[in-house]
Amino acid sequence: MKASIKVWRFDPDNGDKGNLIQYQAPYQEGDTVLQALLDLYEQEYPVCFRFGCRFKKCGLCAVEINGRPRLACRTPLKDGLTIRPLRALPNIRDLVVDRDPAFSVLLPYQPWPAIGEPPERLPRLTEPVEHQRLMACNECLGCLSTCPTYRHDDPSCGGPFQFVKLAQAHFHPLDRMDRPAQARALSIERCGSCLKCRCLIGIPIVKMAIQPLLEGAHQP
């Protein structure tokens, strides 16, 4: 059996602008989109895409499928799918995007605890449930494609991924920085009336990242 799918091809080395190409991917019961891409790659079309673990943990295979960001490894293959790169980030080649801007905008804010000598023993502490949930972020960056206003080329404009990262730090029991203030510097106010962002693996971004940072923003 075959599934007919369209895949975005873009070869910057050819001065090409990119276009959708139709392929007949081999299809077996239970196949994922990632499997189809692997099959195509092996057969004859060296289409470029990232992947790592085949089961939703590495976060590398996020692409847009029929206009929505999805993990290719967790999306069933079907006839008629259109597969494109994440629109929120610059396209490098085929389905591969430049991930750097999503991280570099965060660097000035150092959203991590300082690294010291390891403690002698594990301290008594309570990990907020928000931290537990937020640390499940696999950094697939798919959420950025659900944000109507994120711009990768504007250093004053964060998106859901950046707010998740700041909130991870905010809820780390040993963190001491004013994360809500940093979120303001990344224009989190604009989220107040929107809340359209979605996480591909179900982390409640609004409830656990955006709202706490926004509410923190009103504190003195």
Binding site: E42, F51, R93, E120, E127, Q132, N138
Partner: protein, 563 residues
């Protein structure tokens, strides 16, 4: 060619690599960290996130832990490394928390009591767990790499270590723009992880685990040990093909009443929880090898009897609470998840127990070259107990970075040989747009097939020799590559470089497996089915001399002899 200089270069950015880079930078070194994927991936990110500590219940102590590892590794670990590991195991999790990780706590905020688990082969509860599993380690490592003040080179493939009598740098290929970089370094730390991907699709490991570190070390003249010991987990997904090999569990995940049933309906194993991974994987593999399979080519792990006992139901609850049933639920469905129907299972390549031979300071046998994490060998032996890999990764990662920084500080500047660098670069250059007959991916798939069929869970003299012959044919095929042109993200050039390294690693594994004429731990020989302590309480070492691999076996040293 672009050349850059550092004190320490760390190859690999999973747990061992980022930890090594952070500790080297803390010690004042100028550090670069290289990774084939974005930082913080590797098998560390996809791990379950369990760490083995020690002394968390009153009866336990480093001596007891040492005994368990020796029993689990069937006597083949290096006793000195195992001793160092068990003595300091308590600190491994501390290194991870020092970098920002948080382990599961009880109500009072302590790591004790019911939050401590126990994997197969451990006689005491030692397992710390991570609420968001390895994914949280990955995110933490990504942050830590940024926070450590090191230069990050992502999506590059290190393909050659440089230097004559000591390693003084390396060459790397950049996926982003198809260049070769020459990187000078006082010392290099290999933290490239294992070789699980050599068995794709029969592996639960990530795509980057192509065993490059073993090949890099061999080529530089360093010695490897225990390469015949690849740990297969007993339980992975058999279907659909998209998920073949994905992790389902280890012996402790079978519940007290789980049983293995072969394709003929015969019960072939019960009471698996206390057993080691190899003990169970062997039974599964031998049944499959004998053709007693389910229609999907696996055998049946019947977890359903657990629902009939209170202990069994409790086992389900604790597995469910820590996310160990996610895979079963998402791939096999609700009933499988609830243990209302048996699981179809087959072994999967999980962990390289052998690797680069290191001393107590993580130094390889070649000056200037260190190794830490899964790429190193010696702590475990013929098999590995659950949770010990991650503890080792953080413990030895931290130590290797410190030692590598200290050595680099004592050296003058290093410079790779520019002629050799140019030669290598033009070899890579010649790959772009080459119009031969074989695509790298096709040869890689051939290699993976022969690895699984002949160097996999069950091995024979004949099969291993056939594998070596097939490696020769694949190597010949690689003389005639077809590679696309184009600089940007040319994955085929990367694969051509990986293929060379996979061949070298596969060969070291097959040769070591051929040498060991017994069955022990993860190494099962149909023609030598028994463990043979009289002849084989030995480590097998492999090293490259000229174009040949030299194999030698040496008795496992006794602790007394070492101290």
């Amino acid at each position: 060619m672009e050349t850059r200089s550092y004190d320490v270069i760390v190859v690999g950015a999973g747990g061992a690599g980022v930890t090594a880079a952070a500790s080297a930078a803390r010690a004042g070194a100028r550090v670069a960290i290289l990774s084939k994927e974005p930082v913080g991936c590797g098998n560390t990110r996809i791990a379950y996130g369990g760490f083995a500590g020690v002394g968390m219940v009153p009866e336990d102590n480093p001596e007891e832990f040492f005994r368990d590892i020796v029993a689990g590794g069937e006597g083949l670990g290096n006793p000195q490394l195992t001793r160092d590991f068990t003595k300091d195991a308590r600190k491994g999790p501390c290194v991870a928390e020092g970098m920002g990780h948080i382990f599961r706590r009880d109500q009072e905020g302590d790591v004790k009591g019911p939050v401590i688990g126990r994997a197969g082969g451990h006689r005491f509860h030692r397992g710390l767990s991570s609420p968001a599993q390895g994914v949280s380690l990955g995110g933490m490592l990504h942050n830590a790499a940024f926070g450590a003040g090191v230069e990050i080179l992502e999506e590059v493939v290190a393909f050659r270590l440089m230097g004559q009598d000591r390693v003084n740098g390396l060459l790397a290929y950049t996926l982003r723009d198809g260049r070769v970089l020459a990187l000078n370094a006082g010392t290099v730390v290999l933290a490239c992880g294992g070789a699980g991907w050599l068995f794709y699709p029969h592996t639960d490991c990530v795509r980057s685990s192509t065993g490059d570190g073993f090949a890099l070390a061999l080529e530089a003249g360093a010695e490897l040990m225990g390469m015949e010991f690849l740990q297969f987990l007993p339980f992975s997904v058999t279907h659909p093909p998209s998920y073949t090999g994905i992790f389902l569990g280890e012996p402790s995940s079978t519940g007290p009443n789980g049983r293995l049933v072969n394709g003929k309906g015969e019960t072939v194993m019960t009471n698996m929880m206390p057993k080691t991974r190899s003990q169970v994987a062997r039974v599964v593999a031998l049944e499959i090898n004998a053709g007693n399979t389910t229609p999907h080519g696996g055998i049946s792990l019947d977890v359903t009897p657990n629902l009939e006992t209170p202990q069994g139901r409790k086992a389900w609850e604790s597995m469910n609470a820590t996310g160990l049933l996610d895979q079963a639920r998402l791939i096999y469905g609700e009933r499988a998840y609830r243990w209302e129907e048996p699981w179809d299972v087959a072994p999967t390549a999980h962990f390289s127990a052998g690797g680069v031979r290191i001393d107590r300071d993580c130094r390889s046998t070649i000056p200037g070259l260190y190794a830490a994490g899964e790429v190193s060998g010696g702590v475990h032996g013929a098999d590995r107990l659950g949770g010990t890999a991650l503890t080792e990764v953080f413990l030895f990662g931290w130590k290797s970075g410190k030692r590598a920084a200290a050595e680099a500080a004592s050296l003058g500047s290093s410079q790779v040989d520019s002629r050799e660098a140019e030669e290598q670069a033009s070899r890579v250059e010649a790959l772009f747009g080459r119009k031969g007959g074989n695509r790298p991916i096709a040869l890689i798939r051939r290699l993976q097939k022969v690895m699984w069929d002949k160097v996999g869970v069950v091995r024979t003299d004949e099969g291993l020799r056939q594998a070596l012959q097939e490696f020769d044919r694949i190597r010949d095929g690689a003389q005639d590559l077809q590679v696309r042109s184009g600089r940007t993200f040319n994955t085929e050039v990367a694969e051509a470089l990986e293929l060379e390294m996979m061949l070298a690693t596969g060969r070291a594994m097959a040769k070591s497996a051929l040498e060991r004429q017994e069955s022990r731990g993860g190494h099962v020989r149909l023609d030598f089915p028994d463990r043979d302590d009289a002849r084989w309480l030995k480590n097998i070492f492999v090293r490259k001399e000229g174009d040949k691999l030299r194999i030698r076996a040496e008795a496992v040293p006794s602790l007394e002899a070492l101290s």
